[in-house]
């Protein structure tokens, strides 16, 4: 469902942007497509064109988020497809995959089509539904994976996210089944026998001291290890959602070396925030999988830089205030992520010298688009490609203020932190959807 969006007929010249590879260039888009890049771009520009001065900005393909919770249907008080789309556009995204754990669950073709349609109506990012692996996320019977795949929503990513597909037989069948339509299972790796629903703090000295139920690394790693072997056995594609431990990284590195068809994502928060933030029992830092110690953060950064981890995905998880104002173990899991993803990646990975902008383009756009089999996203900025792009100021510092978010929710763990790197402009199919954190476009009210 990627029909052109209204007023994409406009012509825009982006002048003097630095491309991911380092060269400075002009980019001309018309009718939703990049028509010229480089010296001929300005020459081909007509008088009607809007000109964007991009001096000092970096042009990247529009970001693709493999892991977003938009909360609609069911919890429209926390987020809607429209408000989540706005936050995504402001964060530089041109496509988001909407997780299936809504109410009702996205486990039918009809439910999937409805989400895609609401996304199109909002018109700020492509909203692609993720289908549930099992009916009702119950972990028992496969959902109608094939019907979701052949629906107008063209579902390719399936996940019970929030819950692990822990039954080995169900996971094996799901992996085999989606081969018929080149689907992928995105696994929330959490053995429920090793980390229960109440597990809310990385298991270690701090969980011992705080008296919080531990969420041991092994609960993730044992599932990752099993699933890469299942992927090898079935010859299917498996994707590991929100990898959080050094041990999972080791398994993934080994699996990729064997040629196993596995991909993985890491969240921005796992690239920077550590478990010691839980010491004051502030539920804003409660997330699943939990924040880990610094050694894990270091391993995740290395893995993202060296290609062991393929993509950054936000796990944007909005919650209303009162769902976070319970005792720590009773509060909801999750944190906002769409608007802060680029600044975190820039600060953690680029400023630290671990990654260049070409790699940022890869992990935030090209790889996730390929994993989700999105034809019109994650394309290099060359003539003929859809005009989905993001302009980034790599040096601008900003103190994050939770009250300025376009999300309906305020569970922002980055509040009051200074991050480097800002999204200056987002363009979806030739139309500017956001500028400096503000959304443009009539679809958003």
């Amino acid at each position: 469902m990627s029909q052109p969006i209204n007023n994409s007929a406009q012509t825009t010249l982006i002048r003097g942007a630095r491309m991911a590879g380092g060269e400075t260039s002009d980019i001309l888009s018309a009718n939703g497509v990049i028509v010229a890049v480089g010296a001929d771009a300005a020459a081909q520009t007509g008088e009607q064109a809007e000109v964007v001065e991009a001096d000092g900005l970096i042009a990247l393909p529009g970001f693709v988020d493999l892991h977003t919770h938009l909360r609609e249907p069911g919890r429209e008080d926390a987020e809607t497809i429209a408000t989540g789309s706005a936050a995504a556009a402001a964060g530089g995204f041109t496509a988001v995959l909407a997780m299936a754990n809504t109410s009702p669950v996205t486990d039918t073709a009809e439910a999937a089509e409805r989400i895609a349609e609401l996304g199109q109506r909002a018109g700020l990012v492509e909203v692609i539904p993720v289908g549930a692996v099992t009916a009702g996320l119950a972990g028992e019977q496969l959902a109608e994976l094939g019907l979701m795949a052949s629906s107008r929503a063209r579902v390719r990513v399936f996940s019970d996210d929030g819950k692990c597909v822990h039954d080995s037989r169900v996971m094996r069948r799901a992996l085999e089944y989606v081969k018929a339509f080149d689907g992928v299972i995105s696994q929330h790796a959490q053995d429920p026998n090793l980390a229960s629903k109440s597990s809310c703090c990385h298991e270690g000295e701090l969980s011992g001291r705080l008296g919080l139920p531990g969420w041991p690394s092994i609960a993730e790693e044992s599932i990752v290890a099993r699933d890469v072997m299942l992927a090898r056995h079935t010859g299917s594609r498996v994707h590991i959602a929100h990898v959080s431990t050094a041990g999972s990284v080791e398994v993934l590195r080994w699996a990729k070396a064997q040629g196993i068809n596995v991909t993985a994502e890491v969240t921005p928060h796992h690239l920077m925030l550590t478990t010691d933030l839980l010491a004051a029992y502030d539920p804003v830092f409660k997330v699943n999988p939990p924040l880990r110690p610094a050694e894990d953060v270091e391993a995740l950064r290395t893995a993202l830089a060296d290609g062991t981890i393929d993509a950054v995905a936000t796990d944007h998880a909005p919650h209303v205030r009162h769902d976070k104002e319970h005792a720590f173990i009773d509060a909801a899991f999750g944190m906002l992520g769409l608007e802060t993803a680029l600044p975190v990646v820039c600060t953690a990975m680029v400023e630290s010298g671990m990654m260049g902008w070409e790699r940022v383009a890869k992990v935030m756009s090209i790889a996730p688009a390929r994993i989700a089999r999105l034809a019109t996203q994650g394309r290099p900025l060359v003539p003929g490609a859809p005009a989905n792009l993001t302009l980034v100021d790599p040096h601008r510092e900003r103190v994050i203020d939770r009250s300025s978010s376009l999300s309906l929710s305020r569970n922002n763990p980055w509040h009051d932190r200074s991050l480097t790197g800002t999204v200056e402009l987002t363009m979806l199919q030739g139309r500017i959807t956001a500028r400096q954190g503000n959304v443009l476009g009539s679809a958003y009210e």
Binding site: G204, G208, Y281, H322, A327, F328
Partner: protein
């Protein structure tokens, strides 16, 4: 000192002051007329989200003997199940203008969170698996009254340590007072990360109770819940009692001066035998008696100390 949330918030001197004041409170307790006027006009809410008999009644008696108006509230079940956030629940009570909330909650950290949301003094009366500071203070008081200064004394803490808030507060309190501490439990009942924790806070860890007992000045037995067996923490009650219970045979391994404590309620026949519980060296009832005096002292230091306001 406005709140008592964790023993970690107290200096060694402050712990000493609370124990010293408790001595005079203990004298009051032995009088026929026990009422002190100290907290007249002050309002204390015992806010118990989890059942408790001894801690609640101990705090209630302490408040009444100091002439505070004490009111008991129970908040059975989580606020989640009632559809009200914990913040709303406690702000409602705080808005009535109370001076102190004494909070027992099944969730670790709840009193610390409540202290962020309210204006009154908060006393942690036990939060999940986290801490039980007043228990640790009364245990230290009881031990000091029998053993003298605890600096350099050796105390073994034995039982279900991973789930115990009494362990966590006692560990902090005893280390702050200079005691040497050895934790004894099967590996499955040790708190997570115990290795690095022991290294940081300088205490010992052992799986062998027989090897530890000959060297102790006190042994602190903690409750083991029978339901832990279903979680696979240990095979049977029988095996636990044989390997870690304080039996008559083990009593004989202890030095003659060594004392026994237990915060209660005791599982006789599991972690402690009747011989040990009723032994002359057992301080179980002294602990209960000290509980009221120490809690009076806590109320005194929080509500009549400098910086508090009516």
């Amino acid at each position: 000192m406005k709140h008592l949330l964790s023993i970690a918030d107290l200096s060694r001197d402050e712990i000493g002051e609370i124990m010293d004041t408790a001595i005079s409170m203990h004298d009051v307790q032995r009088r026929q007329v026990k009422k002190l006027p100290t907290l007249r006009g002050r309002t204390i809410i015992n806010f118990f989200f989890e059942d408790s008999t001894r801690t609640r009644s101990s705090f209630e008696i302490a408040g009444k003997w100091m002439s505070a108006d004490t009111i008991n509230l129970t908040g059975k079940g989580t606020s989640v199940s009632k559809g009200e956030s914990l913040r709303d629940t406690v702000k409602t009570v705080d808005a009535m203008g109370v001076d102190m909330m004494i909070v027992r909650h099944m969730a670790s950290g709840a009193p610390a969170q409540i202290a962020q949301w309210t204006n009154c003094s908060i006393v942690n009366a036990g939060d999940g698996m986290h801490e039980h500071p007043s228990q640790a203070l009364l245990d230290a008081y009881t031990l000091r009254s029998k053993l003298g200064d605890l600096d350099g004394k050796h105390i073994a803490i034995v039982g279900d340590l991973t789930h115990s808030r009494v362990l966590r507060s006692n560990l902090l309190c005893l280390r702050a007072l200079g005691a040497n501490v050895t934790l004894v439990a099967p590996p499955t009942l040790m708190p997570s990360g115990i290795g690095s924790w022991a290294a940081t806070d300088s205490f010992e860890v052992s799986y062998d109770l027989d090897a530890v007992l000959p060297h102790v000045d006190a042994v602190m037995m903690l409750r083991v819940q029978r339901e832990r067996m279903s979680g696979g923490y240990f095979p049977t009650a029988r095996e636990y009692a044989v390997r870690y219970g304080l039996t008559a045979r083990r009593l004989a391994l202890m030095p003659r001066h060594a004392v026994i404590t237990h915060p209660g309620p005791m599982n006789r026949g599991l972690e402690i035998s009747a011989d040990a519980a009723d032994d002359a060296q057992s301080l179980v009832l002294d602990q209960v008696s000290a509980g009221v005096a120490v809690r009076m002292s806590i109320l005194f230091h929080l509500l009549s100390g400098e910086g508090s306001s009516a």
